[in-house]
């Protein structure tokens, strides 16, 4: 599953259309839209709002490590090295107020530019700030809050800020329709990146499947195994699976066994161990 956080509806609209998302009725102050494998939340502007929205989304939808979360939005560029309309994957996100920096793990190939994002608590006009007071290549008002909150839930290669350059930090308002067009024009690039992120997990073998875990838990319960023994059982199952496709059929026979004492359970456990070693 992909989770997407945008600040404004103008940023969300092209994403909603592109992924054919439908509004979800939730008892929350956030607007949420969902499809089969994408859920989007509109946070509103500011780092606190973005952090709250990211936390809410990941908790409410019970995100797992195999999922990913993106902050998609516009940003002002510090200089003309970046062009209006460029999609930039951020490899460093600085919270201007504290100087604290966050680093997404960029492990997959992508066709976007890369740069440093600096998040301010207020709208930034370059002429209002002393020279050299902006360290980032781009400026926004959400990235750092989003990233810090998402880091509580997800691994750093599954949290990314993608910013589309909308202006050069001049005191000129950016029209919503223009924002939607900038985001919309980059969605195929963003989708390719999402597909690469998704494919990473599929290459790596996983541990126990949900079914295997249920079998282990049931066995531990039936055989009255101690915490340590249950842990040993799980480890032995993984050892067995390192050289077999699935757990041995004979193990499932123990699902029907009920023991009346710990001693009896211990004896059964010894037989289970032999099966798995």
């Amino acid at each position: 599953m992909f989770y997407i956080v945008t600040a404004y509806h103008a940023e969300a609209r092209p994403v909603i259309e592109y992924f054919n998302l439908k509004k979800v009725v939730k008892n929350s102050r956030f607007q949420i839209f969902a499809g089969s494998d994408v859920v989007l939340i509109e946070s509103g502007p500011g780092i606190v709002a973005s952090a709250c929205a990211a936390s809410f989304l990941l908790s409410e939808f019970k995100a797992e490590d195999k999922d990913a979360i993106l902050n998609i939005g516009i940003a002002g560029a510090k200089n003309a090295d970046l062009k209006i309309g460029d999609a930039v994957l951020c490899h460093k996100i600085i919270y201007h107020d504290t100087g604290r920096a966050f680093y997404p793990d960029i492990l997959v190939k992508h066709a976007m530019k890369e740069g440093v994002l600096e998040t301010f608590d207020f709208p930034v006009a370059k002429e209002d700030l002393p020279e050299n007071s902006i360290e980032g290549d781009m400026v926004d008002m959400e990235g750092a809050g989003f990233f810090e909150a998402a880091s509580f839930f997800m691994p750093p290669h599954k949290i990314h800020c993608i910013k589309v350059v909308s202006d050069y930090l001049e005191k000129v308002p950016v029209e919503p329709a223009f924002v939607s067009r900038l985001i919309g024009d980059n969605l195929s690039l963003i989708r390719d990146f999402m597909l690469s992120l998704e494919s990473v997990d599929s290459f790596f073998p996983r541990g126990l499947s949900r079914e295997d875990r249920e079998v282990i838990e049931k066995l531990a319960e039936n055989l009255k195994l101690s915490f340590t023994m249950a842990h040993q059982l799980k480890n032995l199952a993984l050892f067995y699976l390192s050289s077999h496709e699935r757990l041995p059929e004979e193990l499932f026979d123990f699902l029907n066994v009920r023991v009346n004492s710990k001693r009896e359970g211990k004896n059964c456990f010894e037989r289970v161990k032999k099966l798995l070693c």
């Binding site: 492990l107 541990g207 050892f239």
Partner: protein
């Protein structure tokens, strides 16, 4: 696997450079070798290396490089699980963290929160610490425990710098342990009497199955032969000795092959150690890595260290020792 390679960014696509080391000549030398990499400025190497919830397994497919200066403790007393080869005052140091190889059994996977490679470029600070210490007592120093230093030589010529530093220092004996075939990178140096080049050797089937990205046995043996011929002191390390189906024959073949290609009289010594790993490291590896015959093997625990049960450990060490005794005098064989 080609699909896997095609979706990952190339290794060292990003180089994180700690504030204050940008002008360090070694840092500049390293950076010059990766002109296409994104250079990202960081305050402290741990800001990247110690981020929570990193996925070591996935990161191994696209390692990043961190260039930093090591502060605080630079030398550590040698741990009990490591062989001191009869030397007093056994220390180790870590000029780099992590390795470019991905050996399935490697304790670094449980020791570090990240698969990224850290290179410390403040060599002079390391050297100063060693100089201070050897003024007080003779020191046996291992410099390649938390990395494979020689394998990194083309990125950062640290082995060469350490060898030149050690040369002629009577109170210092130094070991550089490696699995690499990168001896040519230091071959221009004159051998140093107090430096031992130590090669870790495993049966060909172990290398193929468990030592991902590491050079095959043939290449390691070829470099050992060259190093011996050039006059270097060479140590052979059979560590870890692993248990697997057919292990006896595999170690017979390994040792037979080694001494059919290398003159035993030139070998300084050999170490033999059964697989062992601190409890906390193994716990972390079991949690983070997929089913593995090595990681998930039901080891016995003794004093916070997991290893094979006494009987099996005795068989493994006894067998390899008896094979080695056919070629080396007993006093040159060290068991752990």
């Amino acid at each position: 696997m080609s699909a896997l390679k095609s979706c990952f960014a190339r290794g060292f696509s990003h180089i994180y450079v700690e504030e204050g080391v940008e002008e360090n000549p070694l840092a500049q030398e390293i950076l010059s070798k990766f002109p296409k990499a994104f250079k990202v400025r960081i305050k402290h190497y741990k800001d990247v290396f110690c981020r929570p919830r990193q996925n070591f397994l996935v990161q191994e497919s696209s390692r990043k490089l961190i260039i930093a200066a090591k502060r605080g403790e630079l030398l550590y007393p040698g741990p009990d699980v490591c062989q001191d080869f009869g030397n007093e005052n056994f220390y180790y140091t870590s000029p780099a963290l992590n390795c470019i190889y991905s050996c399935e059994y490697c304790y670094l996977k449980g020791m570090h929160p990240s698969a990224n490679l850290v290179i410390f470029v403040n060599l002079e600070d390391f050297f100063k610490k060693v100089e201070d210490l050897i003024k007080q007592k003779p020191v046996y120093l291992s410099i390649s425990y938390e990395t494979d230093l020689l394998a990194l030589e083309n990125i950062a010529p640290l082995s060469a710098a350490w060898i030149e530093f050690a040369r002629g220092k009577e109170n210092l004996k130094m070991e550089i342990r490696t699995k690499s075939a990168n001896y040519p990178a230091i071959r221009h140096l004159k051998p140093a009497d107090n430096v031992i080049l130590a090669w870790t050797l495993s049966p060909a089937e172990v290398i193929k199955k468990y030592e991902k990205n590491a050079p095959p046995l043939e290449l390691r043996l070829r470099q050992i032969k060259k190093a011996l011929g050039d006059g270097w002191k060479v140590r052979l390390c059979f560590d870890p000795v692993l248990y697997f189906e057919g292990w006896e024959k595999a170690y017979e073949d390994l040792i037979g092959r080694i001494f059919s290609e290398i003159p035993a009289c030139g070998i300084n010594d050999a170490s033999v150690g059964a697989f062992r790993i601190p409890r906390e490291y193994l716990k972390r590896m079991r949690k983070n890595f997929p089913p593995s015959e090595i990681i998930h093997y039901p080891y016995a625990e003794r004093g916070g260290v997991y290893t094979y049960d006494e009987k099996l450990k005795g068989e493994l060490l006894g067998k390899v020792r008896s094979l080695l005794k056919e070629h080396l005098p007993e006093e040159k064989i060290f068991l752990t």
